[in-house]
């Protein structure tokens, strides 16, 4: 979810902003009103919704996994966006980019094989010494 929502959100925003007339920073009031009206454009609203979804999933992932596990594995989003560009938008992918895709995929494989969370001594002690509520209830 994290790896899919972020690139989709970014591409929706990019697509939405390309369809708007160019925004000038010379007149602050006009800038604010054009940005506010941009938020209600369907593509941009969809992009913002996807990015909110990304952030919620990312926070949930961080609540049960290590940062050094979440970051490399969610980098698979870069691969998804490159493949979307290749097969949906028919962009050319250079050999360098294919090499990048290969390296990220191998890297994600390395990270995903290991444990997702560092076991703390206190956590190990609490799981081995204290019975869980369900166990205690069943006795």
């Amino acid at each position: 979810m994290v790896a899919t929502c972020a690139p989709l959100g970014d591409s929706f925003l990019a697509r939405g902003m390309k369809h708007l007339p160019s925004i000038s920073v010379d007149h602050p009031m006009a800038l604010v009103s054009s940005l506010v009206s941009a938020v209600f454009t369907p593509w941009i609203a969809a992009g913002i919704a996807m990015l909110i979804c990304f952030f919620a999933c990312y926070l949930t992932a961080l609540s049960w996994a290590d940062l050094t596990y979440v970051l490399p594995t969610t980098a698979f989003g870069y691969v998804i966006i490159a493949l979307l560009g290749r097969f949906w938008l028919h962009e050319q992918i250079s050999p360098y980019r294919w090499a990048g895709i290969l390296l990220i995929t191998v890297g994600v494989g390395f990270a995903a094989q290991g444990p997702s969370r560092t076991e703390r001594e206190s956590e190990i002690a609490s799981t081995t010494e204290l019975p869980s509520p369900s166990e205690a209830g069943s006795r």
Binding site: A75, L103, I104, G114
Partner: protein, 137 residues
């Protein structure tokens, strides 16, 4: 920067580019580490949601000061990236910051979050770092 200074091609443009990239990477790393620390202190969000519903989970996140510190640094990283993009090419700034952040996060995760960054995670961080650079370059 040290390399630039020693090899004799030191100039203000290289220094300012390095400083802008460093600012983005440092703010981003601080934001990620603080957000991760906040989520660890809150506990498993899925369990909180099972016990007290979606509102309870949102309240647990929004009442954590560390979370706001993390989001503040992430916002700072975003604006420093915008500032950097005003002076540097996107094809240089975006891959450089994204890939360097992966490595600095691995270091910060080990030091500040006391995560077990074993050989497998180092390999993953470095492979993804090079991969992101190649992909976006």
């Amino acid at each position: 920067m040290i390399v630039a200074f020693q090899s004799g091609w030191w100039n203000p443009a290289v220094a300012s580019a390095a400083a802008m990239i460093a600012a983005v990477v440092l703010c981003s790393t601080a934001g990620e580490v603080l957000t991760a620390a906040a989520m660890k202190s809150i506990g498993d969000l899925d369990e909180i949601r099972a016990h007290s519903g979606l509102k309870g989970a949102i309240r647990a996140v929004l009442t954590c000061p560390l979370f706001f510190a993390g989001v503040g640094f992430l916002a700072l990283a975003f604006f420093s990236l915008l500032f950097a993009l005003n002076h540097l090419n996107l094809s240089f700034a975006a891959p450089a910051t994204a890939s360097l952040t992966l490595v600095t996060n691995a270091i910060a995760g080990k030091i500040f979050l006391k995560e077990n960054v074993d050989r497998r995670r180092w390999t993953a961080a470095i492979l993804v770092c090079i991969g992101v650079y190649l992909l976006a370059h």
